[in-house]
């Protein structure tokens, strides 16, 4: 049986990582141009979004590790 602390950690982890999954998948799929070609501006914006996703993931991991 997980402790109340661990259970809360699991809930938080799910709540933070799940929305990030949809975002990250969408950004990667678009950048791979599987759903259509991108122009330079679109690519630049998506690359920034991808970098932000990576930063956000790192922040979430650090936050959860610290607990």
């Amino acid at each position: 049986m997980p402790s109340p602390n661990n259970r809360q950690l699991d809930i938080d982890s799910h709540a933070l990582r799940s929305p990030l999954t949809g975002m990250q998948m969408a950004v990667h799929l678009l950048l791979e141009e599987k759903l259509g070609d991108l122009n330079e501006t679109q690519r630049e914006l998506l690359e920034s979004a991808k970098t932000d996703c990576d930063r956000l993931l790192k922040a979430i991991n650090d936050l959860l590790e610290d607990r």
């Binding site: 982890s13 990250q24 998948m25 990667h28 791979e32 599987k34 759903l35």
Partner: protein
């Protein structure tokens, strides 16, 4: 198209891996719509079929209705526990491939899932590349499972062969016309060309179609048969292309058709001449564009099938009559062969009869060595309008009826003993066992007695026999008395 590393070998996969393995049917079970949609897009971009379920209940329903090659299942489905659903799924189908999505902090959850029988797990947030890695791994696993299934089915086939329930298939011929047909087919088998097999009913068109498949590069892929005349137009269309729930009255769930089942393999359309005109453009499109839609659905799907067709009709005449599309005719008729009727294959006829005799005598545990000379004459002189099918059934009957070590004329069905335009059923002389048959050395009175006796033996009443004989019951009674049969 981006390519990802094979998770096992660490190398880029063979470009033919996908085509050799074929597309998979995948169900994505996740309560987050963004994850469902993005995963579905990643899966479909790789050429697989994907469906989604947003909760455990709808996933259960879909799994009850359909079979899926792979499931992506979220560890936490709102209020529902994905692990509990995993247990439920694997209890019903231990071979089901399930990949768990987990966002949990600890690795224990994932380990527990794999211990319970999950195929793999993905930690959130994942990427399309990771999804592709899983798809490749699943295809490999599926291939292994297919091999196991194939081995199991080979064992079953061998068991069946041992029990001698199926007569042998003779794939060689000493008949020049048949030799020509077999030669053409052996050259065409390994190509993707559509093949049209023509021939009378019972000439072995279905057996030849299966032989083509087994001698082709697709031999390890499915061989699916659709019999065109056996279903109504709507049911045939659904049988071929599948349908979605509500497409027509009685369509209570989504189904995939035979075109989907045959994907990557061979689709054999028997009696293509009976294919309704309304379905013909759809088949043409499948042949030309490799595209189709399920009934009641707008989504275009792809299927790569090799088509073999057969008919006993004159398809060219059907085109002239307007019952068969000309463009479809040319499409299915890339290679065509005509199987000669059995009566024209005199050099093969007796060999077939002997094969069947050996088969059926083994099957019923009798030691019947062959045919008497007169029985051989009957076999050789009958016109066999039902071709191989009729021959097989006649020899099966004769094997059961035979009392000695040889098949006698009377062991064969009466129809085979009727004199044919090709010649007498007998070469002359009387019958072996006292039976008098047309053309034999016997009087008209003996012939009449034999005929009456045989008719009476196969009907249920004298009234029925009198009707067949074309006399009234009182005349039959008098004749029986006169011929000392009563």
């Amino acid at each position: 198209m981006a390519r990802c590393l094979d998770p096992d070998s660490g190398r880029f996969p063979d470009v033919f891996t996908f085509f050799l393995s074929g597309p998979m049917d995948i169900l994505i079970i996740d309560d987050e719509s963004s994850i469902r949609n993005a995963t579905r897009m990643a899966v479909e971009a790789e050429g697989h079929y994907a469906e989604c379920a947003s909760d455990a209940q709808s996933a259960r329903m879909r799994l009850k209705e359909e079979t899926f090659d792979l499931l992506f299942l979220d560890r936490k489905l709102g209020e529902d526990d994905g692990i509990e659903l995993l247990k439920e799924i694997l209890e019903k189908n231990p071979n089901q491939l399930v990949v768990i999505f987990t966002a949990y902090a600890s690795i224990e959850t994932a380990v527990r899932a794999t211990q319970l029988g999950a195929f793999d797990y993905l930690s959130k947030p994942f990427t399309p590349d990771q999804i592709r890695g899983i798809l490749l791994k699943a295809q490999k696993e599926q291939k292994t499972q297919t091999k196991i299934k194939k081995l199991e089915s080979t064992v079953t086939e061998l068991k069946t062969e041992v029990s001698k329930s199926a007569p042998p298939v003779r794939s060689q011929s000493s008949d020049p016309m048949m030799q020509g047909a077999l030669d053409t087919l052996s050259r065409a088998a390994s190509t993707p060309a559509s093949i049209l097999i023509l021939g009378e009913s019972g000439t072995g068109k279905s057996v030849i179609a299966r032989t083509i498949h087994q001698n082709s590069h697709l031999k390890d892929k499915p061989f699916i048969t659709v019999s065109c005349p056996s279903l109504s137009r709507e049911l045939l269309e659904s049988e071929l292309f599948g349908h979605v729930k509500g497409a027509f009255t009685g369509a209570v769930k989504d189904t995939w058709g035979k075109v989907h089942a045959a994907d990557g393999g061979t689709l054999f359309l028997d009696e293509i001449g009976e294919l309704p005109l309304e379905i013909q453009p759809k088949l043409l499109r499948l042949l030309q564009e490799r595209e189709y839609e399920r009934l009641g659905e707008n989504k275009t799907r792809q299927s790569n099938v090799r088509i073999i067709t057969a008919t006993n009709r004159d398809l060219k005449q059907c085109v002239a009559d307007g019952t068969f599309r000309e463009d479809l005719y040319y499409r299915v008729n890339v290679i065509s062969v005509e199987l000669p009727p059995l009566r024209a294959r005199t050099s093969d006829l007796f060999e077939f009869a002997t094969d069947y005799l050996q088969h059926f005598s083994r099957q019923i545990g009798r030691n019947i060595k062959g045919f008497s000379d007169k029985a051989r004459d009957v076999v050789m002189n009958h016109r066999w309008p039902g071709n191989l099918r009729e021959l097989r059934n006649s020899i099966e009957r004769a094997t059961i009826m035979a009392q000695g070590e040889e098949i006698q004329p009377t062991d064969l069905p009466t129809a085979t003993q009727v004199i044919s335009p090709a010649g007498s059923s007998f070469g002359g002389g009387g019958s072996d066992d006292g039976a008098c048959l047309p053309g034999a050395d016997c009087s008209i009175e003996e012939l009449e007695a034999e005929h009456i006796k045989r008719v009476i033996s196969r009907v249920n009443s004298l009234q029925e026999a009198a009707q067949i004989l074309g006399i009234d019951k009182a005349t039959l009674y008098r004749k029986r008395k006169k011929l000392e049969m009563a």
